[in-house]
Amino acid sequence: MATTHTRSAARLMMAPSVILLFAWMIVPLGMTIYFSFLRYNLLMPGMEEFTGFLNYSFFLSDPAFFDALTNTLLLVGGVLAITIIGGIAFALLLDQPIFGQGIVRILVIAPFFVMPTVSALVWKNMFMNPVNGLLAWIARSLGFQPVDFLASVPLLSVIIIVAWQWLPFATLIMLTALQSLDEEQKEAAEMDGAGFVSRFIYIVLPHMARAITVVILIETIFLLSVFAEILVTTNGGPGTQSTNLTYLVYAQALLQFDIGGASAGGIVAVILANIVAIFLVRLIGKNLEA
């Protein structure tokens, strides 16, 4: 596996991917950094001038920034919590002998294929709408005041929608992990006198650590840039209650056309994403090595 010949071939074969991704990263990044030091509004061409760190200080001192930061963390954390716990529960359920397992699995997996825009539209209009939505109808028929999801619990609503889309993914991975658990290990635990709960805590859960790690990694990557769901449902509001970083930068860039400010925001977001990435890499590194 390791002759000089194969090693240099390996380097050659990595090259296209690495170069392309590097370019994909560095070119926009470079331009973004450059823009971030300019006063640059798309609507006022010809007035670009160097402003130093002004854009950064405006972005970081924007009260919306901290809201966005917490919202981003809440969104990622909330969805992760729901999908992981729900995913494990579903996986345990689907791992049992049940009638029509295949069909249930098809039902559960379906949301994964739905376009984010579509799922946001459907949830917003047909379910969470406080007047015509199905949830409102259910609440009313049970004699409750319908909850106005998008206004009173906007972030939670977004979390529900996003979690609905990602639950299948978590379930699938957990299920595969569960099914890969060595049968003899479960039997050994049983012989050792472990009941269902003990088996779950001491044997099954540690076995799934790796799967959970992977779910965290992949989902975090996608959840950090959740955008369509917010745009369609709450527009980041009311106030900034459901604005995450991505949406904040979007608002700067494409509602205000303040490219300078948006670029500064983008850079801040990149830095934060990389902090998350480093954190994740630590976590993964530990769990994936073994």
């Binding site: 060595d182 003899e184 039997e187 050994a188 635990a189 049983e190 076995h207 073994a290």
Partner: protein, 332 residues
């Protein structure tokens, strides 16, 4: 405390009657080995005893009590799996302590028992390692440690040595035998390695297609195989089986003679033949000799018997050691 009785036990998987019906008595303190070719139902039988499979019929009595319906954990048995089935995320200590923890035994008591077990098994230095940091033999010992801490009524072993290399296998074999002598607990041991069966067992149960072919002490089986199957299965290299005139002359359908019971000479003997293969192991030489009218016989000679492909040799069977089988394959 540790006797196990199977009465008319059967097991069906879907359509396949894997175990038609088995009766077996295992006495307290006995070391019983199940042998048989792959797929004959050894593991299944063991798992039935353990409670990891439901019997399709019959009764399992442990220590005089009907345990047929009891949950695995309630039977008071401990099992060592072929793959060891160690918990990979737990340290050796936690692995061994696990059954005690499940039994809600208190911390200090657990520690004491784990340390005792580790001492017996020479694992004291490895207590804080994870299973993947251990060698095969060490892992095996951890699996045994996990079994012994519970002081079970009986141990069940399913081919516990098959993943080890030859030298280690020999060592572990001795260790398990010694353990048995120390603990005097009933052990049921599944293997398809004859040497293991012969050297470890008090009693060997030879299984074939879910049926018991013979039960007896190792030397009983070697000396008086009840039928052709056992004759062919026990002993290495295999017994030479001869049909035709020679067998008829002895009043049998098939005559059997072991390679070590054939005298060898360069000058004279009952049969003469030509060496097709000679394997020199130093201590022994195994020869395949083509004898006309009889077939190819395997013969064992001393390590000093220098001979090679194509040599002519004379063979003399030790007729007192001859085995005779009727046309149903049963010993006469």
């Amino acid at each position: 405390m540790g006797s196990i009785t199977l009465r008319n036990v059967s097991k069906v998987f879907g359509e396949a009657k894997v175990i038609p019906s088995i009766d077996l008595d295992i006495n307290d303190g006995e070391f019983v080995v199940f042998v048989g070719p792959s797929g004959c139902g050894k593991s299944t039988l063991l798992r039935l005893i353990a409670g990891l499979e439901d019997v399709s019929g019959g009764q399992i009595v442990i220590d005089g009590q009907d345990a047929t319906e009891a949950a695995p954990a309630k039977r008071g048995l401990a099992m060592v799996f072929q793959s060891y089935a160690l918990y990979p995320h737990m340290s050796v200590r936690s692995n061994i302590a696990f059954p005690l923890k499940m039994a809600n035994i208190d911390k200090a008591e657990i520690d004491r028992k784990v340390n005792d077990a580790a001492r017996v098994l020479n694992l004291t230095d490895y207590l804080d390692r994870k299973p993947r940091q251990l060698s095969g033999g060490q892992r095996q010992r951890v699996a045994i440690g996990r079994a012994i801490v519970r002081q079970p009524k009986a141990f069940l072993f399913d081919e516990p040595l098959s993943n080890l290399d030859a030298a280690l296998r020999v060592n572990m074999r001795l260790e398990i035998s010694e353990l048995h002598q120390t603990l005097k607990t009933t052990m049921i041991y599944v293997t398809h390695d004859q040497v293991e069966a012969m050297t470890m067992a008090d009693k060997i149960v030879v299984l074939n297609r879910g049926r018991i072919e013979q039960v007896g002490s190792p030397l009983d089986l070697y000396r008086k195989p009840a039928n052709l199957f056992v004759a062919g299965f026990i002993g290495s290299p295999r017994m030479n089986l001869i049909e035709g005139d020679y067998a008829r002359a002895k009043g049998a359908k098939t005559a059997g003679i072991r390679p070590e019971h054939i005298g060898l000479s360069r000058e004279a003997g009952t049969w003469d033949g030509v060496v097709t293969i000679a394997e020199h192991l130093g201590s022994d030489t195994f020869m395949h000799v083509e004898v006309s009218g009889i077939g190819t016989l395997t013969v064992r000679a001393g390590g000093e018997f220098g001979c090679r492909h194509g040599d002519r040799v004379f063979l003399t069977p030790d007729e007192s050691k001859l085995h005779r089988f009727d046309d149903k394959g049963l010993a006469l």
